[in-house]
């Protein structure tokens, strides 16, 4: 007879010393656990509720400017810093951790219209409506230098005066050139006081400009004639142009997929395009109720943040039609510029009320050092919430956001108008010969034409 009985010796299953961790034994057999799906559902519900309890996205406001903030720039080498320029010519460097001004760059006579930092973090380029481009030295050594003047201001390295007021500036990635937008597109070198090259297509002012992160010679601009133009620096003439129905206020390239860019438009939508195929938008992101003023991509390339004239900041998924998150405050007025921080955790918005505001990118994220156990727990809760997010109870909690009343009403109004338009279109179709009226998809509808 062969017999064996389960016999567990206590020392194998308990800890040896009191400083040791308790021993944990796992058996993943499904028969040991009953009603797993119901337990997961309850956990998903609790996770959704906890998320809402811990959702405090607003970190703080950076106060100091005396006029509305029109532009911001981030230094890719220094995570804590952000530059901002306002309508009275005041440029400041902020330390986001302490939310204080580190350094001021006085000099501009009129509004500062554009700010950009070179990729190695040494030069800050600013342009303004006083027809000047100023270069400032902002390498780390200089800023930490206590040799600065008592009021923490710095002197420009160079000032270049040109013919017309400038509207925007952007620096080439890994290069020496920067481009300004104004009456025409000018390409400058750091050391020359005159533009190296000029592009001109059409007679309208160019209002925004962006270099491609992947291909350093390509840049996209948007102009007052409702067009988006792509330029290649190696060719002497502009490459492609797409004309839409409304003006594009800002463009941002996807850092992870450099052939795609997203344009923030006056008609409250953002349009994502593939630069190789401009006849149709890849995705239309709809949720704002007023013109979208600025857009910036997260360094992960998976999300982007937009700031709009309707006093809200929204965060969208790169391929999603609707926003994932909306941030608003009573004190925040028209948002003119937004930036996503370089570690993908924070969003900075600059608005009409002279404040820069710092928000968390994920509203219920725990800041600071997260222990491995905590991190795993958060990941688990996120996963279980995503598994059941389509069930009505969980969906209701996850989707719920408080909207300010004007935004809510405006959104309802827009919805009614769009519905009415759609119904009329359907009836026109139904009352006419089948096939005579063709509905264009929204991705195409807003484009008038594409020009080579």
């Amino acid at each position: 007879m062969k017999v064996k009985v389960i016999s567990r010796s206590t020392d194998e299953f308990t800890r040896e010393r009191s400083q040791d961790l308790q021993r944990v034994f796992r058996n993943f057999d499904p028969t040991l656990r009953s009603q797993e799906k119901a337990v997961e559902y309850v956990r998903a519900l609790n996770a959704a509720k906890l998320d809402k309890i811990f959702a405090r996205p607003f970190i703080g406001a950076m106060d100091g400017h005396r006029d509305s903030i029109k532009c911001m720039a981030k230094n890719p080498n220094y995570l804590k810093a952000i530059f901002s320029g306002s309508d009275d010519g005041d440029i400041r460097l902020w330390d986001m951790a302490s939310r204080r001004t580190v350094c001021q760059f006085p000099g501009h006579q009129g509004a500062v219209q554009g700010l950009t930092v070179s990729t190695d973090g040494s030069i800050l380029v600013s342009c303004g409506s006083d027809c000047t481009v100023r270069l400032w030295n902002v390498s780390d050594a200089n800023l930490a230098d206590s040799d600065n003047l008592s009021d923490n201001s710095a002197k420009p390295q160079a000032v270049y005066v040109w013919k017309n007021a400038f509207r925007a500036v952007d620096h080439q990635w890994d290069g020496d050139l920067f481009a300004t937008a104004g009456a025409q597109v000018d390409i400058w070198n750091h050391n020359r006081s005159q533009p190296v090259n000029t592009f001109d297509w059409g007679s309208d002012t160019t209002i925004s400009i962006r270099f491609n992160p992947g291909e350093p010679n390509i840049l996209a601009t948007s102009a007052n004639d409702r067009s988006i133009t792509l330029y290649d620096l190696r060719m002497s003439s502009p490459a492609r142009k797409v004309i839409m129905r409304t003006k594009t206020n800002s463009i941002a390239w996807n850092p992870m997929e450099p052939m795609n860019f997203t344009a923030a438009n006056e008609d409250c939508n953002c349009y994502s395009y593939d630069a190789r195929k401009l006849e149709e938008a890849k995705c239309v992101h709809k949720d704002h109720v007023s013109a979208v003023m600025d857009i910036d991509f997260s360094p992960t390339g998976r999300e982007f943040v937009t700031g709009s004239y309707d006093r809200t900041v929204r965060i969208f998924q790169y391929n999603g039609g609707h926003s994932r998150e909306i941030y608003h405050t009573k004190r925040m007025q028209r948002v003119f510029c937004v930036k996503y921080s370089c570690d993908a955790s924070y969003v900075i918005s600059g608005s009409d009320d002279t404040n820069l505001r710092l928000w968390k990118a994920k509203a219920s994220e725990q800041l600071g050092v997260v222990l491995p156990r905590e991190r795993k727990k958060h990941e688990y809760l996120e996963a279980v919430k995503n598994r059941y997010k389509h069930l009505p109870e969980v969906k209701r909690i996850v989707r719920h956001r408080h909207l300010p009343k004007p935004v809510y009403k405006a959104a309802n109004l827009r919805r009614t108008m769009i519905e009415a338009e759609r119904r009329k279109e359907q009836r026109r179709k139904a009352h006419s010969a089948p096939g005579s009226i063709v509905t264009e998809p929204v991705r195409k509808r807003r484009i008038i034409k594409e020009v080579e």
């Binding site: 017999v3 064996k4 016999s7 206590t10 034994f25 796992r26 058996n27 009953s34 009603q35 119901a38």
Partner: protein, 562 residues
């Protein structure tokens, strides 16, 4: 070692959160490079692959989804990634089960012409180590009546209740008596609540809840004179059936009475909870077994199991098997998915219990029989037997969780015998930990309260949570079926015999008329149904003139008030 184990920090079901970076490679992989051994190694590896495949099936929890019909490309991509992850985590879990579990199960194998059911407990005690043989004992307490037992879910503590009012809590690891109290009235049943700190005793007039110290915490007056108590772990519900056949569910966290139903089938003291889905099954004196959930006042299922009263009931931990026994000395094993009998065993059973590994203990008189299915095909046959001294009447048999021990409550006290192969050798610390410290117990209590399921989640098929409810279509009998029925009715009507009348009343014309009347009577219900259907379809047609009009004019059609 502890840190290594702590890295497996995921809590539920191993899906989505397992990392497979901590696994060792199977030995077959590393040796396969040597040529002349590789053949045998390859064969071994194939066998082990088959085993792993079977285990993977268990961890997959069902079939993979068919993504052919999904047209949305984004959704299809996301679902494909998820299915891939499920497959990976199931494989990882199967490998862990094969290589990383610390203990192995017990077994009893007879050699030669020996049969396992002839082996006595004394011979087992001789072969087994001292610690295990300590677990074989008889506690004789003759004056205090038949005893019932209950174990906590980790098998560490036992509550014993004698009919004459003796309540005792014993720590089974050290065989220490923690507390015993005498309540001086009849105690019919005892049940542990979520941990060893609380237990409920069904006393003469009402059930009471006691502390581990023996302090009476609550007197549950609403339940009345309770015959049986059962605790639903995931929902924190205490279910009770009382002398008047009333089933009550009470939430022990807030004290709220969730359900109170009159079963309508009389007094019964056969009650069990199905651990798989949380339904409570009652066995009645009419031979029916009814299954209940707290949110409906009619039973979910009513099945006729035995020609006489049902004497006991037991559920297999996987939730698919149920064993019932009746007075006619038969045990029936039911498949709960189809509600069919799988097996009938000729065996007396006054009490039944399934172990974690699927062994069935049946006790009558002073004799206990253990049945096991060896092939895994649910064909139960005798495995072990145990007979106690003549005067000992077995009241309750209960397997101890995570141990190879069977606890027997009988009229002279309680006993414990060794049944190799009945318990699950590997426990999960986050489900039930026999080596729990008080800190761990407190943490677990908080976590299980957070995960407390609402009573609406109790349903016959617990995997339906989170799935799409399919709209039920009522099946209409086809035209052919209806006509066939009508023909059959006419035939039977034609075959009726008429009474032979006399005195000139039996004229052929009258007989023929009578016959025609019978046929018409048989046809009438079918014709009525037909006319009704015509009416409704005509009405429907009338109220839908929209269907005739072209699509563009449909909105101009005036809707008549119906």
């Amino acid at each position: 070692m502890a840190a290594f184990w702590n890295s497996f920090d995921s809590e539920i079901s191993g899906c989505d959160c397992l990392g497979d970076s901590h696994l060792r490679q199977a030995p077959g992989d590393s040796i396969a490079s040597v040529p002349y051994i590789s053949v045998t190694m390859a064969a071994k590896k194939e066998n082990s692959d088959d085993e792993v495949d079977e285990k993977v099936k268990k961890y997959l929890r069902g079939e993979a989804a068919n993504l052919e019909g999904v047209k949305d490309k984004k959704l299809k991509g996301q679902l494909a990634v998820r299915e891939d992850l499920y497959g990976k985590s199931a494989k990882t879990a199967a490998k862990i089960e094969k290589w990383l579990l610390p203990s192995e199960g017990g077994y009893l194998e007879a050699e030669g012409i020996e049969k396992t059911w002839r082996i006595k407990q004394e011979s087992i005690a001789r072969e087994v180590d001292i610690l295990s043989s300590r677990n074989q004992y008889d506690i004789v307490l003759p004056e205090l009546g038949p005893y019932t037992l209950d174990f906590t879910s980790n098998g560490r503590y036992m509550a014993a209740a004698g009919r004459k009012g003796h309540l005792a809590i014993v720590d089974m690891k050290t065989l220490n008596l923690i507390k015993e109290i005498q309540v001086r009235e009849t105690v019919r049943d005892v049940a542990y609540l979520h941990n060893e700190l609380f237990f409920a005793a069904a006393q003469k007039k009402y059930p009471y809840i006691y502390n581990r110290e023996g302090t009476e915490l609550h007197c549950l007056k609403e339940h009345g004179p309770v015959l049986r108590l059962q605790f639903l772990k995931n929902h924190f519900l205490l279910a009770s059936i009382n002398k008047f056949g009333q089933l009550r569910y009470q939430d022990v966290t807030m004290g709220e009475m969730i359900g109170n139903f009159r079963t309508g089938l009389g007094r019964t003291d056969v009650m069990q909870v199905n651990p798989f889905n949380g339904v409570v099954a009652l066995g009645h004196s009419s031979g029916t077994v009814t299954m209940w959930k707290p949110t409906s006042s009619v039973p979910l299922v009513k099945m006729l199991c035995h020609p006489g009263p049902v004497s006991s009931l037991a559920f297999h931990p996987n939730g698919h098997l149920m064993a019932t026994s009746g007075r006619e000395n038969k045990i029936k094993i039911w498949d709960l998915r189809k509600f069919e009998v799988i097996q009938t065993l000729p065996c007396h059973a006054k009490t039944l219990n399934f172990s974690q590994k699927g062994l069935l203990a049946a006790g009558t008189g002073s004799f206990i029989q253990i049945l096991a299915d060896f092939s895994g095909s649910q064909n139960y046959s005798s495995y072990m037997t145990h007979s106690m001294a003549k005067g000992y009447q077995v009241g309750k048999v209960l397997f101890r969780p995570y141990e190879d021990i069977l606890g027997i409550g009988h009229s002279m006290g309680w006993s414990s015998i060794l049944i190799p192969g009945s318990g699950e050798p590997n426990f999960d610390s986050w489900v039930a930990n026999p080596f729990e410290t008080s800190k761990q117990r407190r943490e677990k209590e908080v976590h299980s309260l957070l995960d407390k399921l609402p009573p609406e989640t109790i349903m016959l098929d617990p995997t339906k949570v989170g799935t799409v409810r399919v709209p039920q279509k009522k099946e209409k009998p086809t035209k052919k079926d209806v006509e066939a029925e009508m023909e059959a009715a006419i035939e039977t009507a034609k075959d009726t015999e008429f009474k032979k009348k006399t005195k000139g009343r039996n004229k052929p014309s009258k007989r023929a008329k009578k016959r025609r009347e019978m046929i018409d009577k048989a046809k009438r219900p079918f014709l009525e149904q037909q006319t009704q259907e015509h009416e409704t379809s005509r009405k429907k047609q009338k109220t839908n003139p929209e269907t005739e009009m072209p699509k563009s004019l449909q909105r101009f059609v005036r809707q008549k008030a119906t």
